[in-house]
Symmetry: C2
Subunit: 544 residues, 2 copies
């Protein structure tokens, strides 16, 4: 796509004159150093995963000038974050904190309000403050990626501790966790595994949660709760504070591990499979957040463009996918279960035998002999991730379209055949309606599963973008009709998703707004994130 | 103790005239039915565990007229709770919700502010609203005890699901959980195991948290977080809302279990034992919240009064305790580790062998052949509790003194020899100073341990009560000096404990107060609980 090389005028946040804004920025430059305040007046470049922009969403679903930052600032410590917050209050300028800004599929680095000043915390606040080999914990700043944490642990020779990484290892441990992201070892529920936050409030004060509030403590990372109200939760998926430090627990090396892969032939196998998975998962025979993936995404994950297989428009036909699958080392199938068993060999044998006898009850189910799979096969990416080794193989399915971008639909349900079937049917119908290929993957938590549907689209094709967004909007509402809600969503869909959580006349949003107004009276921090608008913005047409 | 049988004038909350108060109560009677509003004008009877009072703390550490309710009301559903809250706002009357009021050691059923109207939720709101045998979850009202939940599951024949109970099974599942209590199976961290709340806010609105906010959902009890800020935590150990329903996950029957007991001879064995326990616990070889108990409490747990062994004042001498211990089936020791291994026999064998080889590294360590222990032995109470079977054997050590009452000191530390030694020394010195017998028990969580020190005292002996309280006050401050804080505390100590969480000039309390003022502008809900005073009370000498 041709990039317009001329200098752009920076977008200015609503309600402030351009000159006043530039003066305010100059003041901030005086405080942080001119080189740590960047006006966003250069061409918007999308880059790629490892060199992503912090000014906008590199996988934008709207025009990229829509959710765009006016400037980006780079604090180096908590005090500077506090200064920025006080500055924002003084001038009523919306600020939007990111850790590393790799929130792809959910909005990337973009702010919700056009012209916000993005606080890129990760660039300079990227220290691992502690790795504790006795307590199996660490304390990180926003700029520590899963890769960086993994490497630091390896470097110290701490073989006894694992990290848990999401599918892509380049994101920030802190950013992913406060957005309540998930990984694929038994420590996959990142939020449940964190312990202790340091937070700068929207009025500039710093607090430490849990045991962190006790001076001289040695328990901040080992006991999450502290005394009194346990407030960490309200800083996840919210706009109530800027998290500047986070404690995280580390998984003990289980003393052995072994991935496995089962394939299932028919679409209808999904329901009985889920019924088999549920009790095994709740009993920890299936131990990790495993994935049940559809074959279409397996084909896409090979990294070849869709045009290799099919050059017409509309969803790629089943027979083409199955023909392609038949030629892969894994062979033809509809669903694949990627799992891992942990512990010494004889303990694994016990669990794997149980899994095997249960899974094979489904006619046509096959245990794949993974020793025959070539090193580049997707299976090995799942193997690494489930062993806590960061990876980026998963990016490959983004090649499915030219200028590949994606946006996620992520509803939650119990682990049940009926729910899986209902969600699959819902997703399929909407994708068919909009002529989009359907990539469903069920990530099975403990008592619940996240269905992650990734819509891959050509981000330079306005029609494709619109189809993807329309499809998603339908999906959110249709799912809500059936009682399913999203665990997390894209910036552009936050208002819509928040509205589906409407019990008792929207009581939870009224409650969220009450907290927002108390904590952020000037409404400067990430207005609109997760659908929460501060008083100053409310009812003025900001929702979308 | 002689009870004064004459009718008492009910205590009236400060700031309202007696007549106005009685009129307001009459109005409430009109709303709830006269029989559901009880003025507290009868003699205060302490009763016993199974028939405890709801008007005051049956184990009071102050004069029982100090923290006493003016009236007790009995709502039957969420709407009536909302009515009571609106009524309290109208007349500015402090209300104090309890679930079952068996919070012994931490204040029992007493309100923090003298003359509060106690809302006894448990009496009429005691339904198990759901037990889900597929998802292994339940939904309970405040009046469901661990016994009641256990029995309902047994009755349905749901052998595949366990509950987790604290040491005493008579408390409320909901009340215990929102006070962040603990039990002794792998599901011992009750807060971590809950999923979904219904809460009446201090201004009367009802919210449902997590997936409960989505109409028609089937995920309220299987996915805890929902979308947007995860607000459950601020309703635990707080005074921000009245919880009217709570979801709880149930543990899958592990397919076998086996308790074990090791004894260790010397006080100094504590430090190396903790170093051995830590990695085994974090790796889940030790699977439950086990207890490491001191022999003095083991003797007391036999249920005989202290006078059986020693009739002088001052702490009971070591040699007497050891002589008594030598005569018990377990034999003499200083520390006992009560644990349980879960799963099929060959899986348990693997874990138990590891534990055995590690524990026996400590000279003098002994594995007790528990098959020789008589059925009434304390070990079997731990066995039941670790298998999710509610029990009340634990009450026996309250017989240690006449009119036995107790109050708890519960600091948290990492699982470390140095910390265990420091806390033990600290506790011992303070108990010696005040002439009190020292009952330390370390409850080993995952990366942290709660030291639970129970001071047993004669509640009719003013001097003994004062010694216990003075000792506790010293302990709290001395522990904080060393960086240790309490995970939970008695009503009377809440201000003091909250003050130890003082990082950055008491930033967390200022934050808590900001939330309190936003949510409870009239300051009617449980003023002072966990040290949080609403504006109307702040700085007016209510702290103690
Ligand atoms: C192919 C692919 C696969 C993916 N797989 C997964 C997966 O398996 N699991 C998963 O969870 N995600 C997945 N994602 C989504 C996303 O890439 C990750 O969640 C990523 O870790 C998020 O980016 P980040 O960590 O850099 O967070 P950021 O972008 O830095 O943060 C996310 C959001 O949180 C808020 N925030 C961040 N930091 C702060 C702070 N310090 N204070 C206050 N608010 C803050 C901001 O609103 C920000 O937009 C995937 C994405 C792609 C493209
Ligand atoms: C011998 C002995 C052993 C014990 N062992 C343990 C143990 O192993 N683990 C443990 O955790 N505890 C233990 N305890 C302490 C206590 O008995 C239990 O925690 C008990 O479960 C608490 O009482 P409850 O459940 O009836 O809660 P309640 O007394 O009903 O509630 C506790 C407090 O929470 C608040 N609250 C309750 N319900 C609500 C509501 N619906 N909305 C808002 N606020 C509410 C109130 O402030 C109340 O005072 C022990 C006590 C004794 C005497």
């Amino acid at each position: 796509k041709p990039i317009n090389e001329r200098q752009r005028l920076p977008v200015v946040p609503q309600g402030i004159e351009r000159d006043d804004f530039l003066k305010a920025l100059a003041e901030l430059k005086g405080q942080l150093g001119a080189e740590h305040v960047e006006v966003n007046d250069k061409p918007l470049r999308d880059g790629w995963y490892m060199e992503h922009p912090n000014t906008h969403d590199m996988m934008t679903i709207l025009d990229e000038e829509e959710l765009v930052a006016s400037a980006v600032v780079y604090p180096s410590n908590t005090e500077e974050v506090q200064e920025i917050v006080r500055w924002a209050n003084k001038y009523r300028i919306p600020i939007f904190p990111i850790s590393m800004g790799r929130n792809l599929g959910y909005g990337g680095a973009a702010p919700r309000v056009r012209g916000s000043v993005t606080i890129d915390l990760g660039k300079r606040m990227n220290k691992i403050l502690d790795i504790n080999p006795e307590d199996y914990t660490c304390l990180v700043e926003p700029g520590v990626s899963f890769y960086a944490l993994y490497e630091a642990i390896q470097e110290k020779g701490y073989d006894h501790m694992w990290i848990d990484s999401p599918d892509l290892g380049g994101g920030s441990v802190l950013g992913n966790t406060i957005d309540r992201g998930v990984g694929y070892t038994p420590y996959g529920d990142h939020w449940a595994c964190h312990s202790g936050l340091e937070v700068v409030l929207p009025t500039g004060e710093a607090i430490r949660t849990g045991m962190g509030a006790l001076p001289g403590n040695n328990t901040w990372q080992s006991f999450p709760y502290g005394f009194g109200p346990y407030s960490d939760g309200i800083f996840s998926q919210s706009n109530y504070g800027i998290v500047t430090k986070m404690g995280m627990t580390l998984m003990p090396n289980p003393g052995g591990y072994e991935s496995f892969l089962y394939t299932f032939q028919k679409e209808e196998d999904l329901a009985p499979l889920m019924e088999i998975i549920r009790p095994l998962r709740i009993s920890n025979i299936l131990e990790n957040v495993a994935q049940v993936r559809h074959v279409t995404q397996a084909i896409a994950a090979r990294g070849l463009p869709r045009a290799t297989f099919f050059s017409s428009s509309g969803p790629i036909p089943n027979n083409i996918i199955h023909a392609a699958a038949a030629k892969t080392p894994v062979g033809d199938h509809t669903w694949a279960y990627y799992g891992m068993s942990y512990g010494p060999a004889h303990i694994r044998a016990h669990k794997l035998a149980l899994v095997d006898s249960e899974f094979l009850k489904i006619p046509g189910a096959k245990k794949i002999d993974t020793s025959t799979l070539p090193p580049d096969e997707y299976f090995w990416a799942r193997d690494r991730v489930a062993a806590g080794v960061p990876d980026i193989h998963e990016l490959r399915w983004v090649n499915w379209t030219p200028n590949g971008a994606h946006i996620a639909f992520s509803p939650v349900s119990p682990i049940r055949g009926t729910d899986a079937t209902a969600l699959f049917a819902l997703g399929k119908a909407a994708h068919d309606k909009y002529g989009i290929d359907f990539f469903p993957a069920f990530c099975v938590g403990l008592r619940e599963m996240h269905l992650i549907v990734e819509i891959v689209f050509d981000r330079d094709d306005v029609k494709a973008r619109k189809a993807a967004l329309d499809c998603l909007r339908d999906l959110v509402d249709e799912a809500a009709e059936l009682g399913y809600g999203e665990y997390r969503t894209h910036l552009v869909l936050m208002d819509q998703v928040a509205k589906t959580y409407s019990w008792n006349d929207g009581a939870i949003m009224k409650f969220n707004e009450k907290l927002k107004d108390a904590l952020d009276p000037n409404g400067i921090l990430a207005p609109g994130r997760c659908g929460i608008w501060p008083k100053r913005y409310r009812g003025r047409g900001w929702e979308m």
